[in-house]
Subunit: 327 residues, 2 copies
């Protein structure tokens, strides 16, 4: 690892989140020192390593919008993996300040911290929602114009612009990852969580938002994190933009049927109708992944496989948490 | 005018600026009620109409980031023309908070005001700098990826994303105008002002930043404003993005020679060298303007003509202000 461009202490904002915590383990596994900054608004302590290697792991409970609270963590860091954000797109439609503050302004503060302490690389979790409703599928990184449909999407686009400007003005390298739907253990929101939660409350009937024909690409957390790390190691432009997704998509209808099957198969599925699940939803999403593939990355499974793997983890975790002797 | 989509009271933020004040006159000339909001950080009172039509003009001195100071102006408005911003790209590189606050956050507050008072149309002055250093000339609105080179560019991209999200989430229409270099009377900054100012201080020698081969498209203020109004009248998508420029470009070298000629022709031009004039500069800019052309718009002159017209205005205004009996 001594010659890797991502060598040295790594700061992970949102490191206690579903994606961040997988990244933290992966970086620790590579022998790096990892410093997690999380405000635990959606992150969870139990997702962090219970017995991290001594001297190579620090946790700071801080909001990235208050940089003085975590400046000490940034000092001497060689990478900042900036994953902290409001994870719930719908919340941002109801209250537009959420994504401005937890998205755009948070990214600005992180980039300012990187500039102040000469951190050479900032790697940022953007999203496929910056594409809005594109008319090209699979959608390449060069697609335009970018017309986000949600305040969350707007904050991701704003953060991308900041990452680009900081790279060009101040000489750091920035990495922008436009995520497909990322799924895996530890998620606090998303379609699978929503559907499981609905079935728990009302086992005979499953209401699904939209007409069920919304179809998106799903990528496992571990594949997503693998792509980020590989890009950090191999791409060395001032600004490096990569889609991260799978080659296929799966419809909400198929996902709902999988969830019902995993739940005993008895629930009746009812669709609320309409092309979109909710205001700000992107009903179709499929990303061109040639660019990250050209670096040697491959997802370990396709969208259906990612959904299956995650459903079975959810079933297992619920068996434990719903069992008579669990808390 | 009764059937025009831009009929009704118009709010113009930055209405006392070089572009805003031309827009204000044009809207007044069309019989509209105009409400100017300006904090006079770069706007100037003398650019506003000295004898506006009674009952159809109001001026509020307020910063758009403090919406309560101008809510009364937004109430009942049918359009908001949001032009207020830091006009100096170089300032934003020196202090990154400037464009975050005066760009991104200001646009957010304006859009929030539009949402609160059900203003159906927001028309926003973006910039060609959102394209960064494109590899396609002339650059079309669909160009991507967008990699701004300055904090100013990042704030324009962030504002575009917000305009898009507000249109899609809350049902207003937004108009995004990506300006070429806009020149005309009343400018407080820009290459022509810079060069005239240098010659005034040191008439024998003109230092020019870069190698002089930077070449951009220049558009007159009145043509720019004409394009904005036409698009507001004729384009009715939720989000309407238009480049506004001319079909040609002119080099810094040619501009410098024109300025020296207008100043008596005796100054020696010295280039500092390098492809860029300054950090964050975009050395080459030429926009595809087919889209705004298809609505029936034509610029009244090309880049060279726009520069010539503006130089002769500057010479005239300086003759007055340098004259023995002027203030």
């Amino acid at each position: 690892m001594s010659s890797s461009p991502i060598e040295g202490p790594a700061v992970v904002t949102g490191g206690a989140g579903a994606i961040g915590s997988v990244l933290v383990r992966e970086l620790l596994g590579r022998g790096l020192e990892v410093r997690v900054v999380d405000n635990f608004s959606s992150g969870r302590r139990e997702l962090l390593p219970s017995a991290p290697p001594p001297g190579r792991f620090r946790l700071t409970t801080a909001d990235v919008r208050s940089p003085e609270a975590y400046y000490e963590e940034v000092r001497g860091a060689r990478t900042i993996w900036h994953l902290a954000a409001n994870p719930d797109i719908r919340l941002g439609v109801a209250d537009p300040t959420v994504d401005l503050e937890q998205g755009t302004i948070a990214t600005f503060r992180v980039l300012e911290a990187a500039r102040r302490f000469d951190v050479p690389r900032v790697l940022f979790s953007s999203s496929s929602v910056v594409y809005g409703l594109p008319n090209v599928y699979p959608t390449p990184e060069s697609y335009g114009p970018l017309e986000p449909q949600s305040l969350y999407g707007a904050s991701k686009l704003a953060s991308e612009g900041l990452c680009s400007a900081y790279a060009h003005c101040y000489g750091l390298r920035s990495y922008i990852f436009r995520f497909a739907n990322i799924i895996g253990p530890g998620m606090g929101h998303g379609i699978l969580i929503d559907l499981f939660e609905k079935l728990r409350k009302e086992p005979a009937r499953l209401e699904v938002l939209g007409d069920g024909h919304q179809a998106k690409s799903y990528l496992r957390t571990e594949d997503c994190v693998g792509g980020m790390i590989l890009a950090g190691e191999r791409a060395q432009d001032p600004v490096n933009i990569f889609n991260l997704g799978t080659d296929d998509r799966i419809s909400v209808r198929e996902i709902a049927e999988k969830v019902v099957a995993a739940h005993g198969g008895r629930a009746r599925i009812e669709y609320t109708g309409g092309q979109r699940g909710w205001v700000g939803d992107i009903p179709q999403q499929l990303l061109a992944i040639d660019r990250i593939r050209s670096l040697g990355w491959r997802p370990s499974t396709n969208s259906a496989g990612a959904v299956d793997r995650t459903i079975s983890e959810l079933v297992d975790s619920r068996k434990v948490s719903d069992g008579p002797k669990s808390r």
